[in-house]
Symmetry: D2
């Protein structure tokens, strides 16, 4: 069977060999369950070294769990969580932040290229009452890379954090594609997180080569509070935690976080160049948003390319995602098809 040329999502990717090896290497002996194992116990240290500061880090298996548990640590049940109107937490997690927090509401903000600006956040907060009758502004969540494939510069993150902190809100970053953004920016992982003011990061590995591993990284360790109880009661404390932690350790220590992201980004970049003027947003990670028109989309699909529609129903927009293990010939073929169309 001829393989499909899939550009649906980096979630379709396989597991990176180094990750599978790390799982295998951890598979010996009986070790204490629920995180009292040597792998999990290294998480704080290894992720602290990665980010260049002391952290408290907790492993979970899904991005939705990471985001929602982090947000529940930042927002009371009557809180308001500010985010971009196309944020993953707003559009793609079936209301998980409301579930984990016990009722918090998302306050959606518009912004070009998937980004929240400090000014837009300030304006939204200016318009929000803080009386007993209102939800209480509690947290801001930004995505790095954004849902539209762009990357916040350190200064952009800092501008958001500054407005948030000045008003008593904490800042969460959804880093499902964090490696892609940092690799694109060429900066230190700390530059777009704690140095810019981020309090808690969902540090994703799954999309970039892991089997299922995300870390909730608290830079602001005072916010950890009852996180472990909330994780447990949500069913997100894995009994055989070593196998999730081992993935995260390998992801960071072996350098595959960067190697995989570099490859995916490069492939996306070439797709973006082939898209030319049809490009909807700068390609600053591994996602390409393109205005193809309905005919253009149909033609690509007829040629065996698979991808998701994007935007409003009749917009003619599409999203192409390059995974870390994307077949290079498929990318070349898609570039050719895009150039020809």
């Amino acid at each position: 069977m001829k393989q499909s040329k899939r550009f649906f999502s980096d979630n379709t990717a396989s597991v990176c060999p180094e990750i599978l090896e790390a799982i295998g290497a951890a598979n010996h002996d009986l070790v204490v369950a629920y995180g009292d194992d040597p792998w999990t116990q290294r998480l704080d240290e290894v992720l602290g070294a990665f980010f260049g500061t002391q952290v408290r880090a907790f492993a979970v298996a899904t991005g939705t769990a990471a985001n929602s548990l982090a947000l529940a640590a930042l927002s009371p049940p009557y809180g308001a969580i500010y985010c971009h109107h196309e944020a993953h937490i707003a559009c793609d997690e079936c209301g998980a932040p409301g579930f984990f927090s016990g009722g918090a509401q998302l306050a959606l903000i518009e912004g070009a290229d998937g980004k929240l600006t400090g000014a837009a956040l300030a304006a939204a907060l200016d318009g929000q009452s803080v009386s007993v009758h209102s939800v209480q502004p509690a947290a801001v969540s930004i995505s790095q890379a954004t849902e539209l494939g762009t990357a916040y510069r350190p200064g952009e993150v800092a501008a958001v954090c500054e407005v948030a902190h000045a008003r008593g809100l904490h800042v969460h970053m959804d880093g499902a594609r964090f490696a892609n953004a940092v690799t694109y920016l060429g900066c230190h992982p700390g530059d777009v997180t704690w140095r810019a003011g981020v309090d808690v990061l969902s540090f994703g590995a799954t999309k970039n080569g892991a089997l299922g591993a995300e870390a909730v990284v608290f830079f602001n360790r005072g916010l950890v509070r009852d996180f472990e109880l909330r994780r447990k009661r949500a069913g997100h404390l894995l009994s055989k935690s070593r196998f999730v932690s081992a993935q995260l350790l390998a992801y960071v220590e072996s350098g595959i976080w960067r190697r995989n992201a570099e490859r995916a980004n490069a492939l996306a970049r070439s797709l973006g160049e082939a898209a030319g003027e049809r490009l909807l947003h700068p390609v600053e990670g591994n996602e390409v948003f393109i205005k193809l028109g309905d005919a253009g989309k149909a033609s690509l699909r007829a040629a065996g390319f698979e991808f998701y529609d994007w935007g409003p129903p009749a917009s003619g927009e599409a999203r192409l995602v390059a995974s870390w293990d994307q077949d290079e010939h498929h990318v070349q073929a898609l570039c050719a098809a895009l150039t020809a169309s």
Copy 2:
């Protein structure tokens, strides 16, 4: 002590004599608690006659309880509830819909004069995914009169309901000022509710002369389901229910719903006329929104008038509300002050 000239809200009003009398008249004998009393047992019949159709009606003491219990009957915990971005449920109930539903999210829609249009709702729903990754569109909530003092015409309500029903959503109406709207429109109460497609109404009496009494009125009786259990576990089933039900019966049967609304509307209308071109929205109930400027507001306040700021911080906008028992001399004085300014 000279009394303040208060135009804060119709919640500042006193209780109408007929309502107090009805409470007194119900105050005899030992009657079974929690709704098995002769007053509560008449609610369905009396409200059914008022609306001209069969209904199931449940008494509660606050508007937030009425709205949130109604919405929890319409939306699952992972539901999306569509409403105007200035709706009371979005701005003034401290996240109650999220609490009562177990996590539902409000999806906010813009609209002139506080109104949701069928077209705006359709556009919002067009853009909403219904995959397993999304909150699931479940309900629409509109306010009659709106938060900006305007009244939906029957056709406007029908247009919203038509879009909602065509996509499987149910429609709630927040009628905290229902009497004011119906009185303004001069229509039958059924014309802007069930005949136009409304499934559930929060029928408010408190703002218009009651002590504390609202009814959740199900026109679509199939939606009642577990409403009574949800009301009980929210602490909104009053033990001495007769005294809430008696208020609602008197409110409807004595005609004070209309008499009080007519008076409040007329006073608001005269304020609106005095406001002239500074008026921000048509006066179709008992609320007046007016652009006074900061100096204008300060000058009125110096003259002893009390009212709330409205809109963004520096907008210079103010809200003036006429209550059923508003002192006519205060209104005349305010009209004079507005005309003079």
Copy 3:
């Protein structure tokens, strides 16, 4: 129509004249809503004087609201709340504590005459793990008077509080029939509450003559925290708060709390004496639990007496409640019937 001889519950009672008068007396002028009114603003002072210590007090309309809001202030969503297995919060509030807290579990403890003992609480806590895998012991709730009509002595309350506090749990008292217990004990209201270690009290007035008024009284004022936001989002902040607060003020200041309780207790006492050896628990308030047998119950009902079955289906047990406004002739008739049977 001949009136039924009702001994169902003190919830069937009417409203005390002093309470209705207080409502009427508060019914003048426009006053600011949602608690910024002169009546509500006196609550802390008046209830503080009543209890003989500084308190923060919040008015709500139902006992379930008072209990659940208090417990949500004491327990996180993953908390365990210890109470007697027949407690009102366990048996009669449709899971409200779980709703308001966001998932807390009740841990039920057995105890004679409806009472929790310090020893039984200690034993229950000894057996409770406090690892991340367990619900976390957070609060204890005791009822005064108990669900079985008995009253905790100050020393009994202190014993429970001592165990609770030694292990970091806070103590709530459900005082739906607080006046009946204090009147029976002949002690100062402070003796069985804050002086014995109670942190928060649901101070009930409804069953003892109010229309619908309960106060959540924080003796431990540090626990108030976000109580007001939780009350609002639960729909329990009444807009015309003055009318609830005025009830509470009149209830305490006029002395009707004691007068009504004394009368109800005395009537219950005479029923208890008539019950003789069939009495199941000491009569220390206004409730009488009696083993009548099925034939005995049928015979009383045939004579026009109304009351609830109690206990397991075939136990032959019944509950008789004397209300503050119980017809003395009905009580005499019931005493005679009991004596004769």
Copy 4:
């Protein structure tokens, strides 16, 4: 380093080679995420064949997720879920059922050897009011094998289910150690599940050789309803679902479910024989409960054996668990130590 002789829990075990191979075998190509992959699509068929009936099966990564999502499908937020007082859902999941259901309460029932009987359930339900004031009996959850290492016979399961179904409750089985129980009983997997009336099963594989894989198996497919939305919003829909589904397929199809359980059971049996009269419950799976006394426990620990205390603080009870990959020499050494003591 000399390896500890660990008998803490089967959660300390490693991953079975066949499971790791299955993960590796699934690791090719880009496949659609979130369950639209060939492995996940076979779950219903393969588990249906295993159980001998049509099922709907959903993969998750943890037992707490499986149990809580299943229970949330069976109980409304105001529901009561009946279970043994030592059930995992009651003692070891940090209140997860309350979280996932939105507030349901567990009703705990006593029973010998960790088992719920039909009679005990009937008695508990007889004593439970079903008025609007009560939590509503909704579900029963039993554990197979039980928390005390015993196995329900088919008739015992049927007796519980019969009582439950007769009163409108649905039945959940927590099968974290399902393979151990079925292997011990020597029956068909269907005999203690759907044929006996079980509606939904948490089918555990993690403790018995998987990395992290459990299936929620609906025998009563009408109960699936919104399960997938609830799973998603709880963060338990894994993006790379193929790797969880592949574990479950291998677990069932390769026969390791039985092979691993047989080995663990046999090792536990020999421990049970060595325990002799100190045994607290029959050994009908891979868990051994034994009264060792404090001195006995200290002596074993001094000899390098690791295990958990059980029961009340001073009970002298211990739990020994044999995992599928337990070192046989460790078991022999422990048997010798037990025999000698």
